[in-house]
């Protein structure tokens, strides 16, 4: 390689080494002599050996793709002539010795004298062919996935419709049957069970559907939610169940009552926690439920604690929030509730976990996403 006559051998070595870091091409364009010194043997070899030595900028320019050439030359000229401009970028294609074109990204710095006249341009040329190809592929994948997602969503509505029609019919037919008119006790009982089975089928399909809709609708409507208001609504909606259970429920949101959350999710989370608590109470003792918030490490935590049956976490620890996981042989359990809670909390940028001891009780905790400082 021919050395530019104003650089020390040590400097040349440094520049050649820097070029090796990313296999870039470093170039220094002396505008006085109109000579370009290039460093980065590996980079420049792909475009022909002559380029690694001192040569006029035209040697490089003639390799630029005809579609890009005049634009690139014009842009550099304009940048050099404008005393305001110190930095500039260009992306263009350059012909390699193997006959293919490489996508090149130039980052350039224009050095100027005290009058603002450009004297030298320093540049780094990177081969971004691979990156660009990846970008295109990624774009394609994203667009494919988006399409697939939306057709899945459509599919889920169709399936749900196709399933719901016959289920609705079963329920409708059941509603017409007046069991009191059936004389045979076995048939009467059978019809009663048949109706129950139908209702359960309906519940399961609706639960699945809820899950599908939620997973395919990432758009979140986050707003300021008052925890005490939502909790009261949920309590009211299951009032009879609470009264039946004789549960003693205390709620204390004094450490923090307002969160940035999707109100529909919050409602569903409280409802799932509450119905779980009522369902899995310990028949041996009165049910006590404590709901409270806590400030910790700048985050707001919500705890939902009961003295119910508890869960053996050694056995089920990692499955608590899984789909279709049931830990108690309860007839009404679908194994969906906690999975929905976990999905909703995660989708909102929060965390959810559980601590529990069999026969002592269970505490579910949610850490809400830190509310960003006002901008």
């Amino acid at each position: 390689m021919q050395a530019p006559n104003n650089l020390l051998p040590e400097t040349l070595k440094v520049l050649e080494s820097i070029a090796k870091i990313n296999n870039d091409g470093l170039w220094i364009w002396n505008l006085g002599t109109n000579e370009v010194s290039r460093f980065g043997e590996e980079f420049y070899n792909a475009f022909g050996n002559t380029l690694t030595s001192l040569s006029p900028p035209e040697d490089w320019e003639k390799l630029i793709h005809p579609d890009d050439k005049s634009r690139v030359v014009k842009n550099y000229k304009a940048a050099i002539e404008n005393p305001e401009i110190l930095r500039t970028d260009e992306t263009y294609q350059v012909l390699k010795t193997d006959g293919t074109y490489a996508d090149i990204l130039d980052h350039a710095y224009i050095s100027r004298n005290e009058n603002g006249k450009a004297t030298t341009v320093y540049g780094i040329a990177s081969d971004i062919t691979f990156r660009k190809k990846n970008d295109i592929e990624r774009e394609m994948r994203i667009s494919e996935l988006t399409k697939a997602n939306s057709s899945l969503k459509q599919f889920s509505y169709i399936i749900s419709h196709n399933l719901r029609t016959p289920i609705s019919n079963l329920i409708g037919l059941g509603s017409i049957i007046d069991e009191s008119k059936i004389e045979d006790p076995l048939i009467q009982k059978t019809v009663e069970k048949y109706k129950l089975a139908t209702l359960n089928l309906n519940k399961n399909v609706n639960g699945l559907f809820e899950l599908l809709v939620q997973n395919t609708n990432p758009e979140k409507q986050v707003q300021e939610v008052k925890l005490d208001d939502v909790f009261k609504q949920v309590m009211d909606s299951v009032e009879t169940k609470i009264t039946e259970s004789g549960a003693e429920i205390s709620a204390d949101f004094s450490e923090g009552n307002i969160v940035e959350f999707n109100p529909v999710y919050m409602h569903s989370i409280f409802l799932n926690f509450l119905t779980n608590t009522l369902k899995y109470r310990d028949p041996e003792r009165d049910l006590k439920v404590k709901v409270f918030t806590e400030k910790k490490d700048g985050c707001l935590l919500l705890h939902f604690s009961d003295n119910g049956l508890g869960i053996d976490l050694d056995k089920y620890g990692d499955k608590v929030f899984g789909l279709y996981q049931k830990f108690h042989n309860h007839p009404d359990s679908k194994g969906l509730g906690l999975h929905i809670v976990a999905t909703q909390v995660k989708a909102s940028g929060g965390k959810v976990w559980v601590t529990s001891e069999p026969n002592k009780g269970t505490t579910f905790s949610i850490q809400f996403k830190k509310i960003g400082h006002a901008e």
Partner: protein
């Protein structure tokens, strides 16, 4: 009580259920049941020329149907019949849970309700307490 109610739904079992529930709950004097939107359009075309006019006060309309679906029926009804039968209201009866279906149905001002199947007693009560049907109950 309504005088005339028209059900448009392609499903036989739905016909059977509606027929029985409507009878038990005294929703209407006369019930006509058709299988798709095209039959509905023909029905109203005949009404235009018929001598005795038993015009339905309410149409229970399914959305997914062969030949002509509920949406296309609503379009034709709005264009051809709405001004001739101003007292005829429509209530969607579907098993679709697609929220877009509900939103879309609100575009038609003669659609007074959106019911999810099955058509059971509680749905009839919803209809009876609908403001825009108050005159009949």
């Amino acid at each position: 009580m309504l005088n005339n109610l028209l059900l448009i739904d392609d499903d036989d079992v739905t016909h059977f259920i509606c027929e029985n529930v409507i009878k038990n709950e005294n929703l209407t004097k006369n019930l006509t049941m058709l299988y798709n939107g095209q039959e509905g359009v023909n029905y109203f075309r005949n009404l235009l020329t018929a001598e005795s006019k038993d015009v339905p006060e309410l149409i229970l309309l399914d959305l997914n149907m062969p030949v002509m679906n509920g949406w296309d029926f609503l379009e034709v009804f709005s264009k051809e019949f709405e001004d001739k039968f101003p007292n005829t209201k429509v209530c969607i009866l579907t098993s679709s849970l697609d929220p877009l279906d509900f939103t879309h149905s609100q575009v038609y001002h003669n659609v007074i309700g959106f019911l999810n199947k099955p058509f059971i007693k509680e749905r009839v009560e919803e209809l009876k307490s609908n403001d825009r049907l108050a005159a009949y109950f």
